[in-house]
Amino acid sequence: LPEAGLQSATGADIVGPRSFTAPAKRRPLRAWLKSDTFWACVVISPSVLAVLVFIYAFIAWTFYISVINWNDVTPDLTFVGLQNFVRLFQTPRFITDLRNTAVFSVFFLGQCLGIGLLLAILLDQKIKGEAFFRTVFVLPFAVSAIVTGVAWKWLMVPSSGINAIFGAVGLDFLQNKWFADPHIGIIATSIAGAWQMSGYTMALYLAGLRGVPGELRDASKIDGANDVQYYRYIAIPLITPVTFSAMIILGTISLRLFDLPASMTGSGPAFATDSPAFFMFETTFSQYRYSTGAAIGVVMLILALGLIVPYFFTVKEEIER
Protein backbone atom coordinates (compact mmCIF):
# COMPACT_ATOMS: atom_id res chain seq x y z
CA LEU A 1 0.00 0.00 0.00
CA PRO A 2 1.50 3.35 -0.98
CA GLU A 3 2.02 5.85 1.80
CA ALA A 4 -1.32 7.62 2.11
CA GLY A 5 -1.51 11.27 2.91
CA LEU A 6 2.20 12.04 2.76
CA GLN A 7 2.08 15.72 2.04
CA SER A 8 3.07 19.27 2.82
CA ALA A 9 2.23 20.71 6.18
CA THR A 10 -0.53 22.85 4.72
CA GLY A 11 -2.33 20.31 2.62
CA ALA A 12 -5.57 18.96 3.96
CA ASP A 13 -6.07 15.33 3.29
CA ILE A 14 -8.34 12.69 4.65
CA VAL A 15 -6.33 9.68 5.61
CA GLY A 16 -7.78 6.49 4.35
CA PRO A 17 -7.06 3.20 2.72
CA ARG A 18 -6.99 4.71 -0.76
CA SER A 19 -3.72 6.36 -1.64
CA PHE A 20 -3.68 10.02 -2.38
CA THR A 21 -0.67 12.26 -2.60
CA ALA A 22 -1.38 15.95 -2.41
CA PRO A 23 0.85 18.23 -4.45
CA ALA A 24 3.50 19.61 -2.15
CA LYS A 25 3.00 23.26 -2.95
CA ARG A 26 2.88 26.16 -0.51
CA ARG A 27 -0.43 27.84 -0.04
CA PRO A 28 -1.01 31.37 1.20
CA LEU A 29 -1.69 31.88 4.90
CA ARG A 30 -5.33 32.74 4.38
CA ALA A 31 -6.02 29.42 2.68
CA TRP A 32 -4.22 27.60 5.48
CA LEU A 33 -6.40 29.29 8.09
CA LYS A 34 -9.47 28.03 6.24
CA SER A 35 -8.07 24.55 5.67
CA ASP A 36 -9.30 21.52 7.54
CA THR A 37 -5.79 20.70 8.73
CA PHE A 38 -5.73 24.02 10.53
CA TRP A 39 -8.92 23.09 12.37
CA ALA A 40 -7.51 19.68 13.15
CA CYS A 41 -4.55 21.42 14.81
CA VAL A 42 -6.84 23.80 16.69
CA VAL A 43 -8.97 20.96 18.03
CA ILE A 44 -6.02 18.85 19.10
CA SER A 45 -3.87 21.57 20.65
CA PRO A 46 -5.60 21.94 24.07
CA SER A 47 -5.20 18.20 24.61
CA VAL A 48 -1.61 18.25 23.44
CA LEU A 49 -0.91 21.18 25.73
CA ALA A 50 -2.53 19.42 28.69
CA VAL A 51 -0.48 16.28 28.04
CA LEU A 52 2.73 18.29 27.67
CA VAL A 53 2.11 20.03 30.99
CA PHE A 54 0.50 17.29 33.08
CA ILE A 55 2.72 14.49 31.91
CA TYR A 56 5.98 15.77 30.48
CA ALA A 57 6.51 19.00 32.42
CA PHE A 58 5.39 17.23 35.61
CA ILE A 59 7.89 14.44 35.03
CA ALA A 60 10.63 17.04 34.60
CA TRP A 61 9.42 18.78 37.76
CA THR A 62 9.50 15.49 39.69
CA PHE A 63 13.09 14.95 38.54
CA TYR A 64 13.92 18.42 39.84
CA ILE A 65 12.28 17.78 43.24
CA SER A 66 14.22 14.52 43.52
CA VAL A 67 17.59 16.35 43.44
CA ILE A 68 16.77 19.02 46.04
CA ASN A 69 16.54 18.63 49.79
CA TRP A 70 12.79 19.12 50.33
CA ASN A 71 12.31 16.50 53.02
CA ASP A 72 10.08 18.48 55.34
CA VAL A 73 6.86 20.48 55.15
CA THR A 74 8.70 23.70 54.25
CA PRO A 75 10.49 23.55 50.89
CA ASP A 76 14.29 23.47 51.00
CA LEU A 77 15.57 24.10 47.49
CA THR A 78 19.20 23.24 48.19
CA PHE A 79 20.60 21.14 45.36
CA VAL A 80 21.83 17.84 46.77
CA GLY A 81 22.49 15.87 43.58
CA LEU A 82 21.75 12.18 43.88
CA GLN A 83 21.78 12.15 47.66
CA ASN A 84 18.07 11.28 47.91
CA PHE A 85 18.62 8.32 45.60
CA VAL A 86 21.71 7.13 47.48
CA ARG A 87 19.78 7.23 50.76
CA LEU A 88 16.79 5.55 49.14
CA PHE A 89 18.84 2.60 47.97
CA GLN A 90 20.30 2.28 51.45
CA THR A 91 16.80 2.05 52.94
CA PRO A 92 15.93 -1.60 53.62
CA ARG A 93 12.23 -0.92 53.07
CA PHE A 94 12.86 0.28 49.53
CA ILE A 95 15.02 -2.73 48.69
CA THR A 96 12.23 -4.96 50.03
CA ASP A 97 9.76 -3.02 47.86
CA LEU A 98 11.81 -3.57 44.72
CA ARG A 99 12.07 -7.26 45.53
CA ASN A 100 8.32 -7.35 46.17
CA THR A 101 7.68 -5.75 42.79
CA ALA A 102 9.82 -8.40 41.10
CA VAL A 103 8.19 -11.30 42.98
CA PHE A 104 4.69 -9.89 42.48
CA SER A 105 5.31 -9.41 38.73
CA VAL A 106 6.51 -12.98 38.26
CA PHE A 107 3.63 -14.57 40.16
CA PHE A 108 0.98 -12.16 38.89
CA LEU A 109 2.01 -12.51 35.23
CA GLY A 110 2.45 -16.25 35.63
CA GLN A 111 -1.08 -16.71 36.97
CA CYS A 112 -2.74 -14.27 34.57
CA LEU A 113 -1.04 -15.57 31.43
CA GLY A 114 -1.31 -19.24 32.46
CA ILE A 115 -4.95 -19.16 33.56
CA GLY A 116 -5.85 -16.71 30.78
CA LEU A 117 -4.41 -18.85 27.99
CA LEU A 118 -5.81 -22.09 29.44
CA LEU A 119 -9.32 -20.68 29.73
CA ALA A 120 -9.17 -19.05 26.30
CA ILE A 121 -8.19 -22.36 24.68
CA LEU A 122 -10.93 -24.20 26.55
CA LEU A 123 -13.54 -21.61 25.56
CA ASP A 124 -12.37 -21.95 21.96
CA GLN A 125 -13.77 -25.54 21.88
CA LYS A 126 -17.36 -24.69 20.85
CA ILE A 127 -18.46 -24.70 24.45
CA LYS A 128 -22.13 -24.70 25.38
CA GLY A 129 -22.76 -21.73 27.62
CA GLU A 130 -19.65 -19.93 26.44
CA ALA A 131 -21.28 -16.55 27.04
CA PHE A 132 -21.99 -17.50 30.65
CA PHE A 133 -18.43 -18.62 31.32
CA ARG A 134 -17.00 -15.58 29.57
CA THR A 135 -19.19 -13.23 31.60
CA VAL A 136 -18.19 -14.90 34.88
CA PHE A 137 -14.48 -14.96 34.03
CA VAL A 138 -14.30 -11.25 33.18
CA LEU A 139 -16.64 -10.15 35.98
CA PRO A 140 -13.85 -9.44 38.53
CA PHE A 141 -12.35 -6.97 36.07
CA ALA A 142 -15.41 -4.75 36.59
CA VAL A 143 -14.79 -4.79 40.36
CA SER A 144 -12.36 -2.28 41.82
CA ALA A 145 -9.04 -3.37 43.27
CA ILE A 146 -10.18 -1.93 46.60
CA VAL A 147 -13.23 -4.22 46.77
CA THR A 148 -11.07 -7.11 45.51
CA GLY A 149 -8.70 -6.45 48.40
CA VAL A 150 -11.53 -6.35 50.93
CA ALA A 151 -12.93 -9.68 49.73
CA TRP A 152 -9.56 -11.47 49.63
CA LYS A 153 -8.49 -10.09 52.98
CA TRP A 154 -11.50 -11.86 54.44
CA LEU A 155 -10.90 -15.05 52.39
CA MET A 156 -7.28 -15.17 53.51
CA VAL A 157 -7.99 -14.90 57.21
CA PRO A 158 -5.42 -17.44 58.50
CA SER A 159 -7.82 -19.26 60.84
CA SER A 160 -10.60 -19.81 58.29
CA GLY A 161 -11.45 -18.83 54.72
CA ILE A 162 -9.44 -20.64 52.07
CA ASN A 163 -7.53 -22.49 54.77
CA ALA A 164 -10.80 -24.00 55.99
CA ILE A 165 -11.53 -25.18 52.43
CA PHE A 166 -8.08 -26.70 52.09
CA GLY A 167 -8.61 -28.46 55.41
CA ALA A 168 -11.99 -29.79 54.33
CA VAL A 169 -10.68 -31.33 51.08
CA GLY A 170 -7.54 -32.79 52.61
CA LEU A 171 -5.06 -30.25 51.25
CA ASP A 172 -3.87 -29.24 54.72
CA PHE A 173 -0.30 -28.80 53.49
CA LEU A 174 -1.46 -25.81 51.45
CA GLN A 175 -2.70 -24.01 54.55
CA ASN A 176 -0.63 -20.99 55.45
CA LYS A 177 -0.81 -17.52 56.92
CA TRP A 178 -1.09 -15.81 53.51
CA PHE A 179 -0.41 -12.09 53.71
CA ALA A 180 0.43 -12.40 57.40
CA ASP A 181 3.47 -14.49 56.48
CA PRO A 182 6.54 -12.28 55.87
CA HIS A 183 7.90 -14.75 53.31
CA ILE A 184 4.91 -15.18 51.04
CA GLY A 185 2.82 -12.09 51.81
CA ILE A 186 3.39 -10.56 48.40
CA ILE A 187 2.44 -13.84 46.70
CA ALA A 188 -0.87 -13.76 48.56
CA THR A 189 -1.37 -10.25 47.19
CA SER A 190 -0.63 -11.53 43.68
CA ILE A 191 -3.37 -14.16 44.07
CA ALA A 192 -5.93 -11.44 44.74
CA GLY A 193 -4.56 -9.42 41.80
CA ALA A 194 -4.68 -12.40 39.45
CA TRP A 195 -8.28 -13.10 40.44
CA GLN A 196 -9.09 -9.67 39.08
CA MET A 197 -6.96 -9.69 35.93
CA SER A 198 -6.71 -13.30 34.71
CA GLY A 199 -10.19 -13.17 33.14
CA TYR A 200 -9.17 -9.99 31.38
CA THR A 201 -6.10 -11.79 30.02
CA MET A 202 -8.40 -14.63 28.93
CA ALA A 203 -10.48 -12.13 26.93
CA LEU A 204 -7.37 -10.83 25.15
CA TYR A 205 -6.25 -14.38 24.31
CA LEU A 206 -9.70 -15.46 23.18
CA ALA A 207 -9.90 -12.50 20.78
CA GLY A 208 -6.46 -13.52 19.51
CA LEU A 209 -7.46 -17.16 18.99
CA ARG A 210 -10.65 -16.11 17.20
CA GLY A 211 -8.49 -14.04 14.87
CA VAL A 212 -6.53 -17.06 13.67
CA PRO A 213 -7.85 -17.86 10.18
CA GLY A 214 -10.03 -20.98 10.11
CA GLU A 215 -8.18 -22.36 7.08
CA LEU A 216 -5.08 -22.79 9.22
CA ARG A 217 -6.99 -25.05 11.56
CA ASP A 218 -8.46 -27.02 8.66
CA ALA A 219 -5.05 -27.33 7.06
CA SER A 220 -3.49 -28.54 10.28
CA LYS A 221 -6.24 -31.15 10.56
CA ILE A 222 -5.57 -32.39 7.05
CA ASP A 223 -1.90 -32.64 7.90
CA GLY A 224 -2.88 -34.90 10.79
CA ALA A 225 -2.26 -32.49 13.66
CA ASN A 226 -4.36 -33.03 16.76
CA ASP A 227 -5.73 -30.19 18.92
CA VAL A 228 -2.72 -30.05 21.19
CA GLN A 229 -0.41 -29.81 18.21
CA TYR A 230 -2.62 -27.18 16.58
CA TYR A 231 -2.34 -24.90 19.63
CA ARG A 232 1.27 -25.76 20.37
CA TYR A 233 2.66 -25.22 16.89
CA ILE A 234 0.19 -22.94 15.13
CA ALA A 235 -2.23 -20.91 17.25
CA ILE A 236 -0.03 -19.96 20.23
CA PRO A 237 2.94 -18.84 18.10
CA LEU A 238 0.53 -16.79 15.97
CA ILE A 239 -0.85 -14.92 18.97
CA THR A 240 2.57 -14.00 20.37
CA PRO A 241 1.67 -10.30 19.96
CA VAL A 242 -1.24 -10.83 22.38
CA THR A 243 1.09 -12.36 24.94
CA PHE A 244 3.43 -9.45 24.41
CA SER A 245 0.87 -6.70 24.98
CA ALA A 246 -0.69 -8.61 27.88
CA MET A 247 2.75 -8.82 29.51
CA ILE A 248 3.25 -5.08 29.13
CA ILE A 249 -0.20 -4.21 30.51
CA LEU A 250 0.13 -6.63 33.43
CA GLY A 251 3.70 -5.46 34.04
CA THR A 252 2.47 -1.88 34.28
CA ILE A 253 -0.14 -2.97 36.82
CA SER A 254 2.56 -4.75 38.86
CA LEU A 255 4.73 -1.66 38.87
CA ARG A 256 1.86 0.55 40.01
CA LEU A 257 0.70 -1.88 42.74
CA PHE A 258 -1.03 0.30 45.32
CA ASP A 259 -4.74 -0.39 45.81
CA LEU A 260 -4.35 -4.02 46.90
CA PRO A 261 -1.78 -3.40 49.64
CA ALA A 262 -3.80 -0.36 50.73
CA SER A 263 -7.00 -2.35 51.10
CA MET A 264 -5.58 -5.69 52.30
CA THR A 265 -2.72 -5.21 54.70
CA GLY A 266 -0.91 -1.94 54.28
CA SER A 267 2.82 -2.63 54.35
CA GLY A 268 2.33 -5.97 56.08
CA PRO A 269 4.69 -7.67 58.56
CA ALA A 270 8.32 -6.68 57.82
CA PHE A 271 7.03 -4.85 54.70
CA ALA A 272 6.04 -8.22 53.24
CA THR A 273 3.25 -6.69 51.15
CA ASP A 274 4.68 -3.22 50.66
CA SER A 275 5.20 -1.73 47.19
CA PRO A 276 7.17 1.24 45.86
CA ALA A 277 3.88 3.04 45.14
CA PHE A 278 2.67 2.52 48.71
CA PHE A 279 6.05 3.63 50.11
CA MET A 280 5.97 6.69 47.85
CA PHE A 281 2.48 7.60 49.07
CA GLU A 282 3.39 7.32 52.76
CA THR A 283 6.70 9.13 52.33
CA THR A 284 5.13 12.01 50.46
CA PHE A 285 1.67 12.48 51.90
CA SER A 286 2.07 11.25 55.49
CA GLN A 287 5.69 12.19 56.22
CA TYR A 288 6.02 15.17 53.86
CA ARG A 289 9.43 13.98 52.64
CA TYR A 290 8.75 15.29 49.16
CA SER A 291 12.21 14.88 47.66
CA THR A 292 12.43 11.28 48.81
CA GLY A 293 8.93 10.64 47.43
CA ALA A 294 9.95 12.24 44.14
CA ALA A 295 13.04 10.01 44.02
CA ILE A 296 10.81 6.92 44.40
CA GLY A 297 8.62 8.33 41.60
CA VAL A 298 11.68 8.76 39.38
CA VAL A 299 12.80 5.17 39.99
CA MET A 300 9.29 3.99 39.07
CA LEU A 301 9.32 6.11 35.89
CA ILE A 302 12.63 4.58 34.85
CA LEU A 303 11.29 1.07 35.50
CA ALA A 304 8.18 1.94 33.48
CA LEU A 305 10.38 2.96 30.54
CA GLY A 306 11.58 -0.63 30.40
CA LEU A 307 8.00 -1.60 29.58
CA ILE A 308 7.04 1.35 27.42
CA VAL A 309 9.96 1.34 25.00
CA PRO A 310 9.36 -2.18 23.66
CA TYR A 311 5.62 -1.44 23.49
CA PHE A 312 6.20 1.63 21.35
CA PHE A 313 8.38 -0.24 18.91
CA THR A 314 5.54 -2.67 18.31
CA VAL A 315 2.66 -0.20 18.08
CA LYS A 316 4.68 2.19 15.92
CA GLU A 317 3.97 0.08 12.87
CA GLU A 318 0.31 -0.19 13.70
CA ILE A 319 -0.03 3.57 14.14
CA GLU A 320 1.87 4.47 11.00
CA ARG A 321 -0.10 2.11 8.86
Partner: protein, 276 residues
Protein backbone atom coordinates in the same frame (compact mmCIF):
# COMPACT_ATOMS: atom_id res chain seq x y z
CA UNK B 1 -15.03 -26.27 11.92
CA UNK B 2 -15.58 -27.88 15.24
CA UNK B 3 -13.02 -29.66 17.29
CA UNK B 4 -13.76 -33.31 17.80
CA UNK B 5 -12.93 -34.22 21.34
CA UNK B 6 -13.77 -37.55 22.85
CA UNK B 7 -16.65 -37.37 25.36
CA UNK B 8 -14.28 -37.89 28.29
CA UNK B 9 -12.16 -35.03 27.03
CA UNK B 10 -15.17 -32.75 26.72
CA UNK B 11 -16.28 -33.68 30.23
CA UNK B 12 -12.83 -32.70 31.45
CA UNK B 13 -13.03 -29.35 29.62
CA UNK B 14 -16.37 -28.56 31.27
CA UNK B 15 -15.05 -29.66 34.67
CA UNK B 16 -12.13 -27.22 34.38
CA UNK B 17 -14.41 -24.40 33.21
CA UNK B 18 -16.81 -24.98 36.10
CA UNK B 19 -13.90 -25.09 38.55
CA UNK B 20 -12.70 -21.70 37.35
CA UNK B 21 -16.22 -20.26 37.34
CA UNK B 22 -16.35 -21.24 41.03
CA UNK B 23 -12.92 -19.63 41.56
CA UNK B 24 -14.11 -16.33 40.09
CA UNK B 25 -17.43 -16.38 41.92
CA UNK B 26 -16.17 -17.42 45.37
CA UNK B 27 -15.05 -13.96 46.57
CA UNK B 28 -18.33 -12.48 45.32
CA UNK B 29 -20.29 -15.24 47.05
CA UNK B 30 -18.32 -14.53 50.22
CA UNK B 31 -19.12 -10.81 50.02
CA UNK B 32 -22.81 -11.55 49.54
CA UNK B 33 -23.27 -14.12 52.30
CA UNK B 34 -21.24 -12.14 54.82
CA UNK B 35 -23.22 -9.00 54.08
CA UNK B 36 -26.45 -10.89 54.78
CA UNK B 37 -25.43 -12.21 58.20
CA UNK B 38 -25.69 -10.68 61.64
CA UNK B 39 -22.39 -9.99 63.40
CA UNK B 40 -22.67 -13.05 65.69
CA UNK B 41 -22.78 -15.28 62.61
CA UNK B 42 -19.74 -13.95 60.72
CA UNK B 43 -17.27 -15.61 63.05
CA UNK B 44 -14.31 -17.52 61.70
CA UNK B 45 -16.02 -20.87 62.23
CA UNK B 46 -19.25 -20.16 60.35
CA UNK B 47 -17.59 -18.13 57.63
CA UNK B 48 -18.63 -20.39 54.75
CA UNK B 49 -22.11 -21.15 56.04
CA UNK B 50 -25.05 -19.74 54.18
CA UNK B 51 -27.03 -17.15 56.12
CA UNK B 52 -29.88 -18.86 57.98
CA UNK B 53 -32.23 -15.96 57.41
CA UNK B 54 -32.11 -12.76 55.41
CA UNK B 55 -30.62 -10.23 57.77
CA UNK B 56 -31.02 -6.77 56.31
CA UNK B 57 -29.77 -4.71 59.24
CA UNK B 58 -26.31 -4.40 57.68
CA UNK B 59 -27.89 -2.71 54.73
CA UNK B 60 -29.96 -0.43 56.88
CA UNK B 61 -26.67 0.70 58.40
CA UNK B 62 -24.40 0.50 55.36
CA UNK B 63 -26.60 2.54 53.05
CA UNK B 64 -26.75 5.70 55.19
CA UNK B 65 -23.06 5.24 56.03
CA UNK B 66 -21.95 5.04 52.40
CA UNK B 67 -24.58 7.20 50.71
CA UNK B 68 -22.65 10.51 50.90
CA UNK B 69 -19.52 8.99 49.38
CA UNK B 70 -21.56 7.06 46.84
CA UNK B 71 -23.00 10.37 45.64
CA UNK B 72 -19.55 11.92 45.61
CA UNK B 73 -18.46 9.13 43.27
CA UNK B 74 -21.50 9.76 41.06
CA UNK B 75 -20.73 13.50 41.00
CA UNK B 76 -17.13 12.76 40.04
CA UNK B 77 -17.60 9.84 37.66
CA UNK B 78 -20.53 10.95 35.50
CA UNK B 79 -19.17 14.36 34.41
CA UNK B 80 -15.59 13.10 34.14
CA UNK B 81 -16.63 10.13 31.96
CA UNK B 82 -18.82 12.32 29.75
CA UNK B 83 -16.25 15.09 29.30
CA UNK B 84 -13.31 12.78 28.72
CA UNK B 85 -15.30 10.76 26.17
CA UNK B 86 -16.31 13.94 24.35
CA UNK B 87 -12.70 15.13 24.23
CA UNK B 88 -11.62 11.66 23.16
CA UNK B 89 -14.12 11.58 20.31
CA UNK B 90 -12.64 14.78 18.83
CA UNK B 91 -9.03 13.74 19.42
CA UNK B 92 -9.65 10.28 18.00
CA UNK B 93 -11.28 11.83 14.90
CA UNK B 94 -8.25 14.04 14.32
CA UNK B 95 -5.76 11.22 14.83
CA UNK B 96 -7.69 8.73 12.72
CA UNK B 97 -8.63 10.89 9.75
CA UNK B 98 -6.33 13.88 9.47
CA UNK B 99 -2.64 14.23 8.96
CA UNK B 100 -0.98 17.24 10.48
CA UNK B 101 2.68 17.89 11.20
CA UNK B 102 4.09 15.11 13.43
CA UNK B 103 0.66 13.63 14.06
CA UNK B 104 2.03 10.13 14.70
CA UNK B 105 4.69 11.38 17.09
CA UNK B 106 2.12 13.44 18.98
CA UNK B 107 -0.23 10.48 19.18
CA UNK B 108 2.56 8.34 20.65
CA UNK B 109 3.41 11.06 23.17
CA UNK B 110 -0.22 11.02 24.30
CA UNK B 111 -0.34 7.21 24.39
CA UNK B 112 2.54 7.22 26.85
CA UNK B 113 0.05 8.45 29.43
CA UNK B 114 -1.57 5.01 29.49
CA UNK B 115 1.57 3.50 30.98
CA UNK B 116 2.57 6.40 33.18
CA UNK B 117 3.08 5.43 36.84
CA UNK B 118 1.28 8.35 38.46
CA UNK B 119 3.80 8.38 41.31
CA UNK B 120 6.09 10.16 38.85
CA UNK B 121 3.76 13.18 38.62
CA UNK B 122 1.76 13.24 41.86
CA UNK B 123 3.79 15.90 43.68
CA UNK B 124 3.63 18.53 40.90
CA UNK B 125 -0.03 17.62 40.39
CA UNK B 126 -0.85 18.43 44.01
CA UNK B 127 1.19 21.64 43.82
CA UNK B 128 -0.54 22.85 40.66
CA UNK B 129 -4.03 21.93 41.90
CA UNK B 130 -3.33 23.72 45.17
CA UNK B 131 -2.17 26.80 43.26
CA UNK B 132 -5.42 26.91 41.28
CA UNK B 133 -7.54 26.18 44.40
CA UNK B 134 -8.67 22.88 42.90
CA UNK B 135 -6.93 20.63 45.41
CA UNK B 136 -9.39 18.83 47.67
CA UNK B 137 -12.40 19.66 45.51
CA UNK B 138 -14.64 17.46 43.40
CA UNK B 139 -14.09 19.79 40.44
CA UNK B 140 -10.33 19.26 40.82
CA UNK B 141 -10.65 15.48 40.73
CA UNK B 142 -12.98 15.65 37.69
CA UNK B 143 -10.38 17.78 35.93
CA UNK B 144 -7.60 15.32 36.79
CA UNK B 145 -9.63 12.37 35.48
CA UNK B 146 -10.33 14.26 32.24
CA UNK B 147 -6.64 14.96 31.69
CA UNK B 148 -5.44 11.44 32.47
CA UNK B 149 -8.36 9.88 30.61
CA UNK B 150 -7.27 11.54 27.37
CA UNK B 151 -4.76 8.89 26.27
CA UNK B 152 -7.14 5.93 26.56
CA UNK B 153 -10.15 7.70 25.06
CA UNK B 154 -8.07 8.97 22.13
CA UNK B 155 -6.94 5.37 21.54
CA UNK B 156 -10.45 3.90 21.76
CA UNK B 157 -11.95 6.48 19.39
CA UNK B 158 -9.04 6.41 16.99
CA UNK B 159 -9.37 2.66 16.50
CA UNK B 160 -13.12 3.05 16.13
CA UNK B 161 -12.98 5.86 13.55
CA UNK B 162 -10.26 4.06 11.59
CA UNK B 163 -12.96 1.63 10.40
CA UNK B 164 -15.04 4.42 8.81
CA UNK B 165 -14.38 4.22 5.04
CA UNK B 166 -12.75 7.20 3.43
CA UNK B 167 -15.30 7.28 0.61
CA UNK B 168 -17.91 8.35 3.11
CA UNK B 169 -15.86 11.37 4.11
CA UNK B 170 -15.05 12.17 0.49
CA UNK B 171 -18.77 12.16 -0.28
CA UNK B 172 -19.34 14.48 2.66
CA UNK B 173 -16.71 16.87 1.38
CA UNK B 174 -18.26 16.95 -2.04
CA UNK B 175 -21.47 17.98 -0.31
CA UNK B 176 -19.54 20.87 1.18
CA UNK B 177 -18.88 19.65 4.72
CA UNK B 178 -15.69 20.85 6.37
CA UNK B 179 -13.73 19.60 9.33
CA UNK B 180 -16.54 20.02 11.85
CA UNK B 181 -19.31 19.15 9.40
CA UNK B 182 -17.72 15.79 8.67
CA UNK B 183 -17.35 15.16 12.37
CA UNK B 184 -20.87 16.18 13.30
CA UNK B 185 -22.84 14.73 10.38
CA UNK B 186 -20.82 11.64 9.53
CA UNK B 187 -18.37 10.51 12.19
CA UNK B 188 -20.34 11.11 15.38
CA UNK B 189 -23.52 9.30 14.26
CA UNK B 190 -21.48 6.34 13.05
CA UNK B 191 -19.43 6.37 16.24
CA UNK B 192 -22.39 6.23 18.63
CA UNK B 193 -21.48 2.68 19.69
CA UNK B 194 -17.86 3.78 20.00
CA UNK B 195 -19.02 6.57 22.25
CA UNK B 196 -20.81 4.04 24.44
CA UNK B 197 -17.65 1.92 24.58
CA UNK B 198 -15.50 4.86 25.70
CA UNK B 199 -18.13 6.05 28.15
CA UNK B 200 -18.43 2.63 29.80
CA UNK B 201 -14.69 2.24 29.93
CA UNK B 202 -14.17 5.64 31.54
CA UNK B 203 -17.09 5.12 33.91
CA UNK B 204 -15.58 1.86 35.15
CA UNK B 205 -12.05 3.23 35.48
CA UNK B 206 -13.02 6.44 37.22
CA UNK B 207 -15.53 4.80 39.54
CA UNK B 208 -12.91 2.21 40.54
CA UNK B 209 -10.04 4.67 40.87
CA UNK B 210 -8.44 4.85 44.28
CA UNK B 211 -5.02 6.47 43.88
CA UNK B 212 -6.07 9.78 42.34
CA UNK B 213 -9.05 9.97 44.69
CA UNK B 214 -7.02 9.43 47.84
CA UNK B 215 -4.37 11.93 46.72
CA UNK B 216 -6.60 14.72 45.41
CA UNK B 217 -9.71 14.26 47.54
CA UNK B 218 -8.90 12.54 50.82
CA UNK B 219 -11.28 14.69 52.87
CA UNK B 220 -13.65 11.97 54.21
CA UNK B 221 -16.69 14.12 53.55
CA UNK B 222 -15.91 14.64 49.85
CA UNK B 223 -13.98 11.44 49.12
CA UNK B 224 -15.15 8.97 46.46
CA UNK B 225 -16.53 5.63 47.63
CA UNK B 226 -13.31 3.65 47.05
CA UNK B 227 -11.51 5.91 49.52
CA UNK B 228 -14.38 5.66 52.00
CA UNK B 229 -14.39 1.84 51.77
CA UNK B 230 -10.68 1.79 52.43
CA UNK B 231 -11.15 4.02 55.47
CA UNK B 232 -13.80 1.84 57.07
CA UNK B 233 -12.07 -1.47 56.29
CA UNK B 234 -8.74 -0.18 57.54
CA UNK B 235 -10.22 0.47 60.96
CA UNK B 236 -11.03 -2.69 62.88
CA UNK B 237 -13.87 -0.92 64.66
CA UNK B 238 -16.27 -1.64 61.78
CA UNK B 239 -17.68 -5.15 61.72
CA UNK B 240 -16.94 -7.48 58.80
CA UNK B 241 -20.55 -7.89 57.78
CA UNK B 242 -20.97 -4.14 57.54
CA UNK B 243 -17.70 -3.79 55.58
CA UNK B 244 -18.90 -6.37 53.06
CA UNK B 245 -22.26 -4.65 52.62
CA UNK B 246 -20.42 -1.37 51.99
CA UNK B 247 -18.05 -3.07 49.52
CA UNK B 248 -21.03 -4.45 47.59
CA UNK B 249 -22.50 -0.97 47.33
CA UNK B 250 -19.16 0.27 45.98
CA UNK B 251 -18.93 -2.52 43.42
CA UNK B 252 -22.57 -2.52 42.31
CA UNK B 253 -22.63 0.28 39.68
CA UNK B 254 -19.74 -1.00 37.58
CA UNK B 255 -20.83 -4.63 37.93
CA UNK B 256 -24.37 -3.76 36.85
CA UNK B 257 -23.08 -1.81 33.85
CA UNK B 258 -20.86 -4.76 32.96
CA UNK B 259 -23.68 -7.28 33.22
CA UNK B 260 -26.09 -5.14 31.18
CA UNK B 261 -23.65 -3.90 28.54
CA UNK B 262 -21.07 -6.68 28.51
CA UNK B 263 -20.53 -6.60 24.75
CA UNK B 264 -19.61 -2.90 24.74
CA UNK B 265 -17.49 -3.40 27.84
CA UNK B 266 -15.54 -6.15 26.06
CA UNK B 267 -14.96 -3.94 23.04
CA UNK B 268 -13.45 -1.27 25.26
CA UNK B 269 -11.28 -3.89 26.89
CA UNK B 270 -9.91 -5.02 23.53
CA UNK B 271 -9.51 -1.52 22.09
CA UNK B 272 -7.63 -0.44 25.21
CA UNK B 273 -5.21 -3.34 24.91
CA UNK B 274 -4.25 -2.45 21.32
CA UNK B 275 -3.71 -6.04 20.39
CA UNK B 276 -0.57 -5.35 18.36
Amino acid sequence: MSVVLRPAGRLFVYAVLIFFAAYYLTPIYMLLITALKPFEKVGILQMWDLPTSLYLDNWARAIPLMAPNFWNSVMITVPAALISSAIGSLNGYVFAKWRFPHSNLIFMLILFGIFLPYQGILIPLVQVLTFFHLYGSIAGLIFVHCVFGMPITALIFRSYYATVPRDLLDAGRIDGAGFFGLYWWIMLPIAAPGFAVALIWQFTNIWNDFLLGVVVLSNPRLAPITVAINNITGSYSVEWNLQMAAAILAAAPTVIVYLLLGRLFMRGLLAGAMKG
